[in-house]
C-alpha cells in the first residue's frame, strides 16, 4: 500500500474518532495500535477479558457498584427481590441478561427499571426523565430474547425479580459506559465536589445526595459574564434558568421542598447546611445558555445535625 494512501486512510480513521468524541479514550484505554477497527467502537474501553471479569452471587436485596457478572440462584422461592445498580456520576449502566432460567408463565419475572424506585418514589422524577414511567420498566418476560441488554439514562438503575421455584437462576452482566453529559445523578458518597453542565438544552437535571450535608455552591453561570452582585431572589421560576436546592425524605425530586433558588450568575461560595435525608441540587435550563453550577458537599456530623434540628421552626426533614 502506498505510504500516502496509508496516511490518508489513517487520517480518515482519526477524523471518525475525533468527531465521535471518544479520542480521549484512545490514550487512556490502551487501544492497540494494530487494531484499526477498534477505533470504530463507540465504547473505547478495554473489554474486560472473561477470565478477569468480576463475578459473585447476586443477593435477594443487593447493591452493585461495579462491573461484572452477578448470578442469582434461588435456594428457596424468592418472591420479593431487588438489586440496586450504581455507577460514577459520568457513567451509565447497561444490564445484560445471561443464562436466564425462570418460569415466566409461572409468575417469575426480572424487570429492570431505569432509575431507582423507593417507597413509591422514583429517581429521576417523571418531570426530569425523558421516558414515560412505564417505558422505564423493561420486563425480561415481555421483551424476551429481543432485548438482551438494557441501558440506563443516568448513573443508577435497579432490577426487581421474583422466582417461585428453587433452582431457578439468572445471570446479569453489568457494564458501565461513559456519559459525556450526565444529567441526573445520585452521589455515591456523602462528600465530594461536582460541576453540572447543561449545554444549551431545555431540560432539568438533578444531583441527589442521600445524606444530610453542608453544601457550598461555588459558581453558577449561564455561559456569559455577569457582573450582578451575588444574591438569590425569591421565586426564580420566571427567569427560566436557575438552580434549586431541595431537601426532604424521599428520592423523588418533584416531591422535595425547595430550600432556596439561585437565579443570578455568580462566583463565590454560598454555604448551606441541609439536615435532610436527601439533598438535591437541581438545575433548570431553558436551553438558551450553557448552564453550569459547581458545588462541594460534606457530611454533617451529629452535632451539626442536632443544632439544625433545634434551630429550625419547621423540621420538614425530620417529620416525614
Amino acid at each position: 500500500m502506498e505510504r500516502t494512501f496509508r496516511e490518508q486512510l489513517f487520517f480518515l480513521l482519526l477524523c471518525l474518532s475525533v468527531l465521535s468524541g471518544d479520542c480521549r479514550y484512545i490514550e487512556n484505554n490502551d487501544v492497540s495500535k494494530d487494531e484499526l477497527y477498534a477505533l470504530f467502537k463507540s465504547d473505547l474501553r478495554r473489554e474486560i477479558p472473561d477470565l478477569l471479569m468480576y463475578r459473585r452471587p447476586l443477593r435477594c436485596l443487593d447493591m452493585v457498584a461495579m462491573e461484572g457478572q452477578f448470578t442469582f440462584t434461588a435456594e428457596t422461592p424468592q418472591l420479593s427481590c431487588a438489586a440496586f445498580f450504581m455507577a460514577e456520576p459520568s457513567e451509565v449502566i447497561s444490564v445484560e441478561y445471561d443464562s436466564v432460567d425462570i418460569d415466566c408463565s409461572g409468575g417469575d419475572f426480572i424487570t429492570v427499571f431505569d432509575g431507582w424506585v423507593m417507597r413509591g418514589e422514583k429517581f429521576p422524577s417523571s418531570q426530569d426523565h425523558p421516558l414515560p414511567l412505564y417505558e422505564r420498566y423493561v420486563d425480561y418476560c415481555d421483551s424476551g430474547s429481543a432485548r438482551k441488554s438494557v441501558r440506563s439514562s443516568q448513573n443508577v438503575a435497579m432490577v426487581f425479580f421474583r422466582v417461585h421455584s428453587a433452582g431457578s437462576s439468572f445471570t446479569l452482566t453489568v457494564r458501565k459506559h461513559t456519559n459525556p453529559f450526565p444529567c441526573n445523578v445520585i452521589s455515591q458518597s456523602p462528600e465530594g465536589r461536582y460541576t453540572m453542565v447543561i449545554p444549551q438544552q431545555h431540560r432539568n437535571c438533578s444531583f441527589s445526595i442521600i445524606y444530610p450535608v453542608a453544601i457550598d455552591v461555588s459558581e453558577f453561570s449561564l455561559g456569559r459574564r455577569n457582573n450582578f452582585p451575588k444574591r438569590s431572589l425569591p421565586g426564580c421560576a420566571e427567569s427560566g434558568d436557575y438552580v434549586q436546592l431541595l431537601g426532604g425524605s424521599g428520592i423523588d425530586t418533584s416531591k422535595l421542598l425547595p430550600i432556596t433558588d439561585l437565579c443570578i450568575s455568580f462566583t463565590g461560595p454560598t454555604h448551606l447546611k441541609i439536615g435532610c435525608d436527601n439533598t438535591v441540587v437541581r438545575m433548570v435550563s431553558s436551553g438558551r445558555f450553557v448552564s453550569r453550577v459547581s458545588f462541594s458537599y460534606r457530611l454533617l456530623d451529629s452535632q451539626e445535625l442536632q443544632t439544625i434540628k433545634l434551630n429550625n421552626v419547621e423540621d420538614f426533614c425530620f417529620n416525614n
Binding site: 436485596l61 447493591m63 415466566c104 420486563d139 429481543a146 439514562s153
Partner: protein, 133 residues
Amino acid sequence: CLAQGFQLLISTLIILVILCFIYLVLTSSHLSGVNELSPVRYGRPAGAAPGHQLLLRLKEALPLGGGDSSSSSSEMKRVLLQLGPEKMRRSEEPPLSLDLTFHLLREVLEMARAEQLAQQADSNRRMMDSYGK
C-alpha cells in the same frame, strides 16, 4: 494516474465524512443513553394473582458481613416489596417499588463501595504482579 485517482477519492471521502458528522452533531438532541431503552410497555407478569395489591415481606436477613448487622437485620425484615394492583391506571404510582429506609439504603451503598474498593485493590495488585514479571 490510478494512485492519484485513489488519493482524490480518499480526500473527497474524508471531506464528506466530516460534513456528515458536523450535521449529525448539530442536529443531535439526545446525548444520554436514552434511546437504548426500547419502548416496551410494562405488563403484568403472567400468572400474577388478580385483583388486589400484594405486600410481600422479606424474611431473609442480608449477609451484611462483619457481624455487626443486628440492627440492620431487624430492619431488613421490615423491608417490603410492593406490587401494584392489577387494575391501576398507568398514570399512577409505579407498579414495582421497594419499601426501604434511607438508613438501610446507605448501609448497602457503603457495602457496595467497600466491595468496589476491595476489587479495585485486588485488580491493582494483579497488575503490579504482572508488571513485575
